[in-house]
Symmetry: D2
């Protein structure tokens, strides 16, 4: 019965993660979307902004103020970095669980945040409660959390690619290079030079070389897994496609492996994790597009004595919206796959 | 219970329509896929051919021979034109309902078939029973049918774009021009010059000018609707995208209309048809991609006294696989929307 | 010798036509680029804005004011509609020939301009001198002109597709439909929703249905050619590619033709026009991309008694910058092909 | 005068490098194309195969046999690996200089060739004379050569990215990782699953992980430059674009550098090399597309103590056809830039 459903709100309807959250949640059997908010477009219908939803989700957009007066089970913040923290602070006394898709609570401290985001954090206490929402690594903590920091898209692909080796203490210090490539939606819905079609189409380039914020997010999680202070070289690139991230991760190991043992390490580590698929050949982005899967191909290069682990996800789903729904399922005690079984759309 | 489900088979697993049928049907609540066949790849797993299905549909591919001995409720033929008819003939005594996605039974007679397909038809009796499977037009006939000729992709977009005006007797004879554009998957999975990336990407061209087979399919259906002998000018073009058809249809009307009356005609005609959406602005292909929707924008050009009706569908879904599932739902007496409520994937 | 070269200026360096003009003109053997202007970026180098020119054209950008004091042979205005006319007015006493790439002087009168551009024209006298710069049609007038209105991109493809039939008086009144498709650069360099990658990529749509400004430009030129008042149905669409326009033009003829006579009409009309190529099969956009060619395929559909003429150009070149250079060659009395012999870039 | 021009032949007209060679050479002021050959298409016109050349290069295709009887100054072999060597052997007594665009003579010995190409070499003597045709590194040797092994596309981008550091003895052993990405034309003109539009478009993947043939080509050249036995980790990926390669090269240095000293090393090394541009920001593929440029961005990451050098070329030009023309210019004693000054085509 509808009455028995959990109630949720989506704050920020304009962006890609907002519309993807709406797409997943309006068909999720255990929840009802009570509110979708947009300060810019309040009063319009959700389907006015996103015509693909015409006749499917014609809900009226509201101001975020309505959330304050509302008893929701879960609030999703689909807002830019630096904006989310204002809302988390404002709603700190609410009973609602908050799942924040921005980067505001992903790092270990306000100081690290300031170093990489060039901004003072306004809600320092948030760091105590926030749990890093990578379901494959921290499911138990997430279940008990009231504030989930939903991981970044690049970090999700990067962390999952080498987590088994860090957890096994097999990574040689200073040897990790992650060469990552993302579709354009990672740059957001805002129209600017970066997102102009003629700068993306038939083109390819690196950006944020040496300074991208996701570097520290990856390093911190690897440091936790590896129980040491990990430094990685991370280089993002912009692909002329809508969706998808592929990370090519390189690492030296502390002892010689072979392909078979490498496979075992990955298969064992991801045993029981329904959305990680260990592949025997290099995966393509379209193998996961439109789905919650993360496909990983771990390769042992006997010639060079190096591991190459290639992982791929849909940046808007496993790298954002469906990961948030996965976290919601954990928090609400639902079966973790609920509402997440979309099959990759290929071609 | 699984035991209560209808049993189905998919003949032809290699092509795009085969894999899209599998994607829809393996999550359809009322059916079980008993067999998926491929003569070339029998013995392999479905997910060997289509790695996006790894862990989702790992069913073994079989020879079509197994269908002969099997009591299935519905058989889907996802085969090339000229091949389907052999199977329909071979299985004519089976109780299974057949939904044929090829062009073999879409036309009115073997003679017309030969004219446009340059091939003798091997199963002339099939024409008597075959029903043209456009659910928005012929739902009642489809429900009683045992052989459904699933419409072509271009015909679906084209016919739906002007059906209300033909049905109302409003189209001026000889005035219809349909300028249609399709994504590359319409050309099939076979590797050849046409499907080579470098001939499609950043490119655009017309093809089959004046002679495309879908012309006669469209003309026959309009002739039925309009109760007269209709001739149309139909020109297909190849878009550098994976999925989607957009048809820009032009027609003179037998009397002057205005925008309001035109909207009424379309809204009334498609009243109660859940997958046709009448739009107030020109639709984009991405508004329907990955879904069963057909969006139509009827425009009255006061200056020229002409109707321009722009329709768009996903060629692999509304133009093929999901239309076939829609037909199956009708045949099996299920709620027509079952298994077809995927929300368009955008971006 | 450099000293003997004609001097030119390019007003407006930011947009696509500005950079394409610079690309063509900096390698044109008879001219020297004296000034390139940009109000927004003056002081920067041209190659700061357009890094592909690094080491090739590092000229400093200046304010358009320098043009006023400069004795240039030719001034190219690569400015938006509604801005060009201010400069033409301001510089009306200069001896420089002006080639205006905007729409400000393409139409027959300020009244028609206001109807379609929703703006009062500030330089009415300009209409007396302005010559419509379609070199294949008006070479003699262009040679003598001091103000050339460089044709629009869609009009160039559209007009050339049917000009031979209009000139021969063969077009049936009211029968012309032009269904045109353009790459995204036609929408300009400005970042907005229309040009955002995710709205263009893997997408396709019509726009400006029934109201696009190029309609009247096409009608006026056809009216001149056909010596009657011509009305056309013109529908533009947006292709997910950078460059290129393809126009599919439909017309009824006043008498029955056949393929051979149609070919003759086109071949005769374009005899001696080096950049129009009459094709025997439907052309693709990539057959002309990066070049000054216009490829046209005239097709007689015996079944429907209609001509389909498919033409394709590079919208930034034949539809803008190289057409402007062609006009300059005519004005300066140079061989018309000078600087325009780039071979289409394919793949 | 035409009579004073050098005569050349192009063996292999079907592929992308063949048509690009023809495009460059038919406008090269010092040469005349005497023969273009194709066994499959002999008798047809070059423009029948490549319609973009209609009216530009309508030369008749001949059998390669004509080359045997012809006194040509230069022969270009635009043939697959394993086929070129047959022709080089057959024509070993001819006076013509041969520029081979295949991989048959790029490696140091027949043994290494067999290891990486899985094929016995048929013309072992060829290795003695063959010069590796990287004009920026070996111009003097190329000038005196009669058999030039034109470098691979990935090797060109890869080698140029780190050559200055290897030449300076600054690369730490075993530290080099080259993560390279190429447009689809690198996969050739042949229609197969790899080149099918639906497998490339909106997709991205690695291939040849750990085993790609270009690995050894890169290692051998770095070993020569670095005067030691160099091993590199090389991973190619397939981009959904037509043209272009971007290589992201990572290396540890034997001593700490800084950004300024790194820039100096690159600027000094490429001083006087007109087609290498040292960039201050990460280059994009479109900055060089359609041109002979190689843009390189050397970056010193102070945090990790690593160099990241990002290079980009047009794979069909600097990575194949224009590099071959560059080599021809050197061999014939022409100014090295002749016929190679096309400005990058952007957008």
């Amino acid at each position: 019965m509808e009455n028995d459903k959990y109630t949720i709100g989506i704050v920020g309807a304009t962006g890609f993660t907002g519309s993807e959250l709406a797409r997943l949640l309006c068909q999720h059997e255990n929840v009802t979307i009570k509110h979708i908010t947009s300060e810019t477009h309040k009063g319009k219908l959700f389907s006015d902004l996103h015509p693909q939803f015409l006749g499917i989700l014609d809900q009226k957009l509201e101001s975020a103020d309505v959330i304050g007066d509302s008893e929701l089970d879960v609030i999703f913040l689909a807002l830019p970095h630096g904006v989310s923290m204002d809302f988390v602070k404002k709603w700190k006394h609410k009973k609602s669980k908050i799942i924040d898709l921005s980067g505001d609570f992903r790092l270990s401290s306000p100081e690290v945040y300031k170093d990489w985001y060039q901004k003072d954090h306004v809600f320092v206490e948030g760091f105590e409660n926030a749990v890093y929402g990578q379901p494959e690594l921290f499911a138990e903590q997430i279940k008990k959390s009231s504030l989930v920091a939903n991981p970044g898209c690049y970090p999700t692909a990067s962390i999952l690619s080498l987590a088994p080796l860090f957890a096994a203490g097999l990574i040689e210090e200073g040897s990790v290079i992650i060469d990552a490539k993302s579709g354009l939606t990672g740059a957001g819905v805002k129209a600017n030079d970066t997102t102009h079609f003629s700068n993306v189409n038939e083109n390819f380039k690196a950006y944020g070389v040496g300074v991208h914020r996701h570097t520290v997010e990856i390093e911190e999680q690897f440091s936790i897994l590896g129980k040491s202070n990990v430094q990685v070289q991370f280089t993002p690139h912009l692909l002329p496609i809508d969706r998808g991230i592929l990370a090519t991760s390189y690492a030296k190991t502390t002892r010689k492996l072979d392909q078979e043992s490498l496979n075992s390490i990955y298969n064992d580590f991801y045993e029981g994790k329904p959305f990680v698929r260990i592949r025997k050949i290099a995966p393509a982005i379209k193998d996961v597009r439109g789905s919650h899967y993360c496909d990983i191909f771990p390769f042992w290069d006997e010639r060079t004595g190096r591991v190459i682990a290639i992982s791929t996800i849909d940046n808007l789903l496993k790298g954002a919206a469906s990961q948030a729904v996965h976290n919601m399922n954990l928090i609400l005690g639902l079966e973790e796959k609920t509402g997440l079984e979309q099959i990759p759309l290929r071609p």
